[in-house]
């Protein structure tokens, strides 16, 4: 792949929480249009890695180039770059005091100076896509977990990001709701959205990804196509991990 297609380039990323080193030096490139799944045991550092990509966690060392700009530089306006990096959380984090529609439109209106009518029309299209158009004027407390997570996804999409980060998007869902959320992510991936997904859904990761990263003890222990990683694992820690989860 050529240089021009690099979307995120991570160099020598380290993150310490006090004395504890969580990330111990990660070099990785996410290319445009790629769907990358990140797997690993709890506490391996995979969520921290994801959260460093939009600086929800401040890296202790190293640089992150997003579309060629070093976003670890304290002088960049990180808010502007975050608008291009969508993120979906384990616990949805929808805004409970805003209606479903306002959840989606608030940031485009505030930060992109989009007109209210335009933002709402766009939000309705997104809501139709996930089948929640009839809930537009409800408050999130009326939604199920799966519906909340779908709302969170389109809320991020409304900012027209160049990449979507998913942080264990189905871990907090009841089993019967996992599918509806994975369907939406899958659709996004098929439409060419660059996705980085931290997940425990191995079957899903295998099905959807171009590439799988195995993070263990703060470094990327193995990286490759889903077939390589799941069917021909080389690293002994990965073999051990897969034997537990598959």
């Amino acid at each position: 792949m050529t240089n021009a297609m690099k979307l995120i380039e991570v160099k020598g990323l380290k993150k310490n929480f006090g004395e504890l080193g969580v990330l111990k030096g990660i070099d990785e490139v996410i290319y445009k249009g790629e769907v990358v799944s990140i797997i690993g045991a709890s506490g391996s550092g995979k969520s921290t890695f994801l959260r460093c990509l939009n600086r929800l966690e401040e890296p202790s060392e190293g640089t992150i180039l997003f579309e060629g700009v070093d976003i670890t530089d304290k002088k960049v306006n990180i808010d502007k770059h975050r608008q291009k990096i969508g993120m979906v959380f384990q616990h949805f984090n929808v805004f409970p005091h805003l209606t479903v529609l306002d959840n989606i439109t608030i940031t485009p209106i505030l930060e992109k100076k989009m007109k209210k009518e335009e933002a709402e029309a766009k939000a309705m299209t997104l809501l139709e896509m996930i089948g929640l158009a009839d809930k537009a004027h409800e408050f999130p407390r009326k939604l199920s977990g799966g519906q909340k997570q779908r709302l969170a996804i389109v809320r991020a999409l409304a900012m027209e990001p160049d990449v979507m980060l998913f942080d264990e998007p189905t871990s907090a869902l009841d089993p019967e709701m996992v599918k509806e959320v994975l369907e939406v992510i899958k659709k996004l991936a098929e439409e060419g959205m660059t996705c980085v997904i931290v997940t425990h859904e191995m079957a899903f990761a295998k099905q959807i990804s171009n590439r799988v990263l195995f993070i263990d003890e703060g470094i990327v222990k193995e990286s490759g196509s889903p077939e390589d990683v799941f069917d021909h694992p080389k690293d002994p820690r990965l073999v051990e991990f897969l034997s537990k989860v598959l």
Partner: protein, 224 residues
């Protein structure tokens, strides 16, 4: 003796109800002013406390710790006797006392607001940041509206506290229920009876306010 007290109570209520009424209005006015301006100032202090500046943080923390750690009566004396001279203004007694009460209230309210903001789920902050919202918009549109639910009832309770605390103003004869009580004691040579009525008044005032705060709490929790 009890018949005498009863007779005096009847006399106080029938003949001096107007003075008590003025006292009640005074108490409510002084408490409301203190809490309203205390809230305005307290909000600024709370925002300062939540900022990342260490210097600002420690100054403001000292401010609230100091005010919450010293008696209100002492503060009243300080603001009456020394404060105007220190900052070089010529305030009336009433202004000095009101400023002292507002400052006192601001320290408590700033803690209420800080705690209310911190009680908002941290995921809300992360979601707003991940969308690229500025700190200012995040605070105003996402965090504060949710924090209000925690903050408003607590400020209501602060008002209830103030209704009682302002009785200390009677040291400086500001018009409130306790000052009325003292005036009645000295001018009518009665002792216990005005106190009984003052006690009832304070109890009714705080009970009514508690009821209002309860209703407010109930209404705010509906939106969860």
């Amino acid at each position: 003796m009890y018949a005498k007290i009863w007779a005096n109570l009847v006399l106080l209520v029938s003949k001096y109800y107007k003075q008590f009424f003025i006292g009640i209005l005074g108490t409510l006015k002084i408490s409301a002013i203190s809490v309203i301006f205390g809230t305005l100032l307290g909000t600024l202090i709370a925002v300062g406390k939540l900022s990342k500046s260490k210097v600002l943080n420690s100054i403001l923390n000292f401010y609230t710790d100091f005010i919450r750690g010293t008696p209100l009566l002492l503060q009243l004396f300080f603001f009456y006797l020394f404060f105007p001279d220190i900052i070089g203004v010529d305030w009336s007694k009433q202004t000095c006392i009101l400023v002292a009460l507002c400052i006192n209230s601001s320290a408590y309210v700033s803690e209420i607001i800080r705690a209310g903001i911190q009680a908002v789920d941290s995921g809300q902050k992360e979601a707003a940041k991940s969308l690229g919202m500025s700190d200012r918009n995040m605070m105003i549109k996402i965090i504060l509206p949710q924090a209000v639910k925690n903050i408003l009832p607590a400020i209501g309770n602060e008002l209830i506290m103030m209704v009682k605390e302002t009785s200390l103003c009677s040291t400086f004869f500001l018009p409130d229920v306790m000052t009325t009580t003292k005036a009645l004691q000295t001018s009518l040579y009665m002792t216990v009876e005005p106190l009984i009525i003052a006690g009832l008044i304070y109890f009714v005032l705080t009970s009514l306010l508690s009821k209002c705060v309860g209703l407010l709490e109930k209404r705010l929790s509906v939106s969860d």
